[in-house]
């Protein structure tokens, strides 16, 4: 392989893996490329993509967030409850604000009290899930009482593409710019790359780290609202294992858990890999227990490939 081709391909491992996965599945079953299936994949990816974008902020900043799954459920239920009482807009704001609040708590504890992010967010993950059951009594919230416009949002399209898909698409464009081209974005990379060196360069590292959790929480809140629209109700059990899928997607996209590395669009490719893999195993009628095994293997293989590459 020539050096320039190698350079173009290096760092695009996730994209190559995704294309290979699509190609293999398409060869094995004609159903994969049907418009209905492709549209399904996009919708299934949309909510996870919003979460993964937030997770990328945290992981690039050198952190970790296990609480997003619970936050999705709490935000969805809060949004549904508020919406029934005060209307659509208030509900959406309540859902996002819930996520921001959880993120702020995580961020302050991690950035200013110096508690390990894994432990902190493990705690909030359990705590927030508890709150969901307390608030809802364990029963779904909303159903037919939800505003019609909200229910439509979960399934309607704009220019032939689901509203649910537009959300991460727009977020990806705007937030990629924030990460790459604003002082704030560069400081997130610097802080994650070497917190002490960033501090000694005058970067307010505490504020930066806390802010990444606010992004992550807020976007998880938004994802909760989207999921409620799709499920037509706020579900207290929603979002379980979402944190693991999101983290796996971000790592598949090449972000480093050491911090300082990762891009939003590659994280989204990671999300697609996870969703397409599940989809193709479904289409090929692979037993769902074996699907879990396969997905676990893929995650470890991707991380190991990354280690081998960086060692070289």
């Amino acid at each position: 392989m020539t050096a320039s081709l190698k350079r173009t391909l290096s760092g695009q491992g996730a994209l190559i893996a995704l294309l290979a996965l699509c190609l293999i599945t398409a060869l094995l079953t004609h159903r994969f490329l049907s418009p209905l299936n492709l549209s399904n994949i996009l919708v299934q990816s949309s909510i996870m993509a919003v979460i993964a974008i937030g997770m990328t902020f945290v992981i690039v900043g050198g952190g970790f967030d296990l609480s997003v799954g619970s936050t999705v459920a709490l935000a969805g239920c809060f949004a549904a409850m508020t919406m029934v009482q005060f209307g659509l807009l208030a509900g959406v704001v309540a859902g996002i604000a819930t996520g921001i609040a959880v993120g702020l708590i995580n961020g302050v504890i991690i950035a200013y009290l110096g508690v390990n992010p894994f432990i902190t967010t493990l705690g909030t993950m359990v705590l927030v899930r508890g709150l969901v059951y307390l608030v809802t009594g364990g029963a779904p919230v909303g159903d037919e009482q939800l505003p019609a416009a909200f229910l439509a949002f979960g399934s309607a399209r704009f220019l032939g593409i689901h509203y649910l898909v537009w959300v991460p698409a727009i977020l990806l464009i705007v937030l990629s710019w924030v990460m790459a081209a604003t002082p704030y974005g560069r400081r997130v990379y610097a802080t994650g790359g070497n917190r002490e060196a960033a501090y000694l360069s005058g970067v307010p590292v505490g504020r930066i780290i806390a802010s990444t959790y606010v992004w992550c929480g807020g976007l998880a809140g938004l994802a909760g609202v989207m999921l409620a629209a799709r499920l037509q109700s706020g579900q207290p059990t929603a979002g379980e294992f979402y944190e693991l899928t999101a983290i796996a997607a971000v790592v598949l996209g090449g972000a480093s858990l050491q911090g300082g590395e990762g891009t939003l669009y590659k994280s989204i490719i990671g999300v697609f890999i996870m969703v397409v893999l599940g989809n193709s195993l479904n289409l090929l009628n692979v037993d769902s227990y074996w699907q879990r095994v396969a997905i676990g293997v893929v995650i470890i293989a991707a991380a190991a490939a990354d280690r081998l590459r960086s060692r070289h």
């Binding site: 081209a181 560069r186 060196a197 005058g202 970067v203």
Partner: protein
Amino acid sequence: MSAPAVSGRGLTKQFGATHALDGVDFDVQAAEVHALVGENGAGKSTLVRVLSGVHRPDQGEIAVGGTVRRFNGPRDAIAAGIITIPQELRLVPALSVAENLTLGDPPLRRVAGLNTIDRARMRKTARDELAQLDFAPDPDIRVDRLSFAERQLIAIARALRRQCRVLILDEPTAALETREIERLFAVLARMKRQGTAIIYVSHRLDEIVALADRCTVLRDGRVATTSRRGSFNVTDLVAAMTGSAAAKGEGFFPSPFLGSADQPEQAPRSALLEDAVERPDAIRLRPREVTGLAGLLGSGASGILRRLFGIGGGTSTIRRDGIMRRLASPADAVRAGIGFVPGERRLGLIMNLSARDNILLPSLDRLTRGRGGGIDRARADRLVRELMELLDIRPRNTRLSASAFSGGNQQKIILAKWLAREVGVLLLEEPTQGVDVAAKAQIHRLIRAFAEGGGGVLLRSSDFAELTLVCDAILAVHRGRTTDRLERADGFDEKRLHTAIGA
């Protein structure tokens, strides 16, 4: 003469397109100190790694005591008696001195049929081993409570516990004070008498002239010269390291800079930066002046730099251009136009980010299009390119990650950060540590140029030659207070300085 303790013949190692080693012959005899010098990137580290089994040579062979050996990893080299003391010591910070020393083969005792660690014997072993080095720390103290020099002795003591035929030291004195260097040299002299072969890698040429029995100069992966004690001096070594061009001396000890004393006396210059509260180690920096800071480890000299940069707990109050400022964090100090180059490069750079990102980091908020806008890429690129040109940072690749630059160029990137921010005051901590002679001279010239442009510099260095070369005045620090101030006009007296710092 008997077979060398270790020898390499025709050693060649390639990384990608670069020949890190190109047919190098090198050997060290028992009871000999063989120094290895060369500029950054000349191949010293690669040679050390090949001899210690970290890298396998592409070509060539290694012989230990005359027998050809193949090392499949550092373990093989250690088993053959080749022990390396790297710059970054491999000790476990949270374990005690005794535990670190006996790590791997702790003294055991059988209790109820189980092997348990015999703590009393472990302590005694540690005490005995360290006593041989004239070092008597509490064996139960955690290693991270010790100074770097003390940790280095622990690492050497650990090497001595194993059967050590060849000891390789990589830049052992880079972080040491004069007194500690003397202790280290005494230890090395004793080991040499006992028959250990020592390979000594250093940038400090005066040390090598004093210590080495033989000296090999590497240049571009090849042996430039190997000479015996008495037949080399600092000038020869520099000539061999840099090739003939730079050997003419341009830049390497440049003629003494003209100090402030030679300038017509102006009205008393106001302070650029001074402590606003009375204290025993108060600092006053004037524009166009480089002030040196001399002091042993633990003297409080480093603390002064950190205080003036808003680190190290608590808020410090200073006057900057006459205006009172409270510094609670580096961000405050940067806003006050102060830049800090820390002694450890990993604290000055974010290694996985590009040179460009590193240089721009302190100045990001000044490079936006309007408030809250994006970074003006054209302006940022121009600034980075200009600085890389001005500071001669090589290669001139703005996108290359900081880790890919050599030590000297990394140090220049850190300086470029603060020049990009246009700070008025630079606080420098050992800015030329582990940097080759050519880059060192460039950095010295930069410091002078910064001062002559109206800036003020506070330079902490453990290298007296560096202080006398660059500074207008030298402050001595001892036990948290400034004990003396030497002016260039009076001539810098090394004895007087040593007395003042308590050496």
